[in-house]
Symmetry: C2
Subunit: 397 residues, 2 copies
């Protein structure tokens, strides 16, 4: 009998309890082992909940109970989630989590403690909600060198951008709608400023490269400045605007960034709408594969947490090679100034481009003029922006 | 040092040797173990190949070599592939394969022998080529009850249907083009008659339900009768015609079938074109997830074979719960007559539908009239077809 503790009885925590209970029979059958939720840590009481008798308020009860070998952390935020996770791992308990903030900032240390203690630290639910992506990257693509990861990693912003494109809603009114539906928080900054997507792309970049970049140190743009003119010009260019996290693993090092991009209709990410997420992976043997599904939500995210719980239980007696990440050093990172990608410049008046910039397309739409360039470096793009009257500028994928 | 034998040095077999060699360093690093291809079984010699010294013609050399603990079968066809696989498993060697014909017909027996002998029988590459789908279904969706699987499982037919839709090519000319490009065999029956897709959907259905239905016993329609009128009517209805394998796991049992379907534009499968494959899974906790990528090809398929090889090596010392399928019994299967799904009927003249059939849409296009019905049973659809002048009839998803 495996005894599990859940830290945090919010949306994902209660969803995890629900999945573990609702599908108990099939999960135990698959595992050939029984399990039980022994404790649920939360500051609140939940007298109406079927799990009311499992609620505890003191973390030490869990930490000091040797029967608890598996802890699912769904508290959110860095502290005390990181501290509790670290303490559990050091006490020889495996930890699974949906907490991208902790994984993206403290993943190197927590994975290393897990390895030393012979336990697991798993975080499938930290990226893409219910979409299987982390374990497939590690297992199914293990025969590949992953060269690129591009993803729609945040459901809230994708919902807002879909509304703007399909209904001509302004950013502000689409955001209000998202808040009304519970997709966006009262303070939407983590979503609309790209912070959430940045945490997720550094996790995916680390899985592909072995190097974890602090999310704060990657180039991150949000979607607050996107106008209806932008979405209409995108349409005229045959593109959709999406908030894209991308990571490139090349000979000169690793590049990761988050920004709104014009996504060509031929790119499967262009058709991922509403709150759905999609992660497109380029790998040297398989080519291009994509994972698609619900990027958030109570039961989808809990489904991924419980997949990790099942993974831990199924391998309790195995000696598995665990994740071994290193902190990003200067030499691991490609110089961002030299990162090169196609661009769309939108302006009210004609732009005179430097002679080195190759134009692929130029259109007039909605009283503006839009230029699509062949790949240029970040430095070149900044120079063009500094020297011309640009309304907006998008990377293109 | 793990010693591997490859059975069959055709497209996928030689691709597997290439992936194992090309990415040897990163794979061995991930595994913490070294490996070597000791033998390659083929009737032919390959004097120009870098693997020429590994070629053997006698299967018994491999079977009787206790150093060989892992065999990758990529021979295709049922015999001797099944016989060799069985012999290897009985000799205590793990077997990985891309051979959907063997898995779909002999999977119950081979999985059971593997379980008895404490070895593995893995077949990620048998469905969806390089797309991770089998292992994600088993691991990442293990916390779910899978209720439905729908997929574009055959790249050749998807290429043909895409040509017909986008270029107005006839079936015959699209098939010729596919043959010229090497996507279709000289004898294209296994692809265009739906046989290949039937093998794949029964494997996916077995992963979802535990019951393996013989592929020959499921309802299977191919794409040879599809006309340009059909593709144009589909367009007018806002649909794409795709060859769909589908499996439904319901309270009354399991249903699996292969047929061309009208796929609504809102269904992500509608946008999977050319030789790509996509598998859409409905599960009770996560909701809808989709896996997309190259459904065939030398290196993509080999990438999946090598993922299985890595899985076997990584778990050599673990006692894992292996796949336990049972043969389909009458009571496992839902009565096909009662299977219910929306339909599109295309006719030159108006059709008088029985009073129980609810019409959702009726359009005139290309000199024909098309009716879209709410779900009706297979039996009802057959009755309508028998009593009216129908040009074609499609299930709709």
């Amino acid at each position: 009998m495996i005894k599990i503790a859940i830290l945090g009885f919010g949306v994902v925590g209660s969803g995890t309890a629900e999945v573990l209970t609702e599908n108990k029979k099939i999960i135990e059958e698959r595992l050939g082992t029984e399990y039980e939720i022994k404790y649920i840590l939360d500051l609140r009481d939940f007298p109406e909940s079927p799990f009311a008798d499992r609620i505890v308020h003191d973390f030490n009860i869990i930490l000091n109970d040797p029967e608890v070998t598996l802890v699912a952390e769904m508290m959110g935020g860095s502290h005390p989630a990181y501290d509790f996770s670290k303490a559990c791992l050091e006490a020889g308990k495996s930890v699974v989590t949906s907490n991208k903030e902790v994984v993206s900032n403290f993943g190197v240390e927590l994975c290393s403690i897990a390895a030393k203690k012979g336990v697991r630290y798993l975080f499938e639910a930290s990226v893409g909600g219910g979409i299987p992506v982390i374990r497939p990257m590690q297992n199914d693509l293990a025969s590949n060198k992953i060269t690129k990861v591009c993803g729609i990693l945040n459901g809230t912003t994708n919902y807002i951008l879909t509304k703007m494109r399909d209904e001509g809603a302004s950013f502000d009114s689409a955001l209000k709608e998202a808040q009304k539906l519970g997709y966006a928080e009262a303070n939407p900054s983590a979503d609309v400023d790209g912070i959430d997507a940045a945490r997720k792309i550094v996790i995916l970049a680390a899985l592909a490269s072995g190097t974890l970049i602090p999310p704060k140190s990657i180039h991150t743009e949000g979607i607050t400045a996107i106008t209806l003119l932008d979405t209409k010009v995108a349409e005229a260019l045959g593109c959709s605007i999406k908030l894209i996290g991308q990571a490139h693993i090349g000979d000169s090092g690793l590049t990761a960034l988050v920004s709104p991009c014009m996504v060509r209709k031929t790119n499967p990410l262009s058709r991922i709408d509403d709150v759905f997420n999609g992660i497109l992976i380029d790998a040297n043997m398989v080519g291009e594969v994509m994972f698609y599904g619900p990027g958030a939500g109570k039961l989808p995210t809990a489904s991924a947490v419980v997949a990790d719980i099942i993974d831990v239980i199924a391998h309790l007696d195995s000696e598995l090679k665990t994740i071994n990440w290193s902190e990003a050093k200067e030499c691991d990172l490609a110089p961002f100034d030299e990162f090169s990608i196609g661009r769309v410049f939108i302006s009210k008046s004609e732009i005179a481009f430097p002679s080195g910039v190759k134009l692929e397309k130029q259109i007039k739409a909605e009283g503006a003029v839009a230029y699509l360039t062949a790949p240029i470096t970040e430095k070149e793009a900044e120079e063009i922006k500094a020297n011309s009257e640009i309304l907006s500028c998008f990377r293109i994928i």
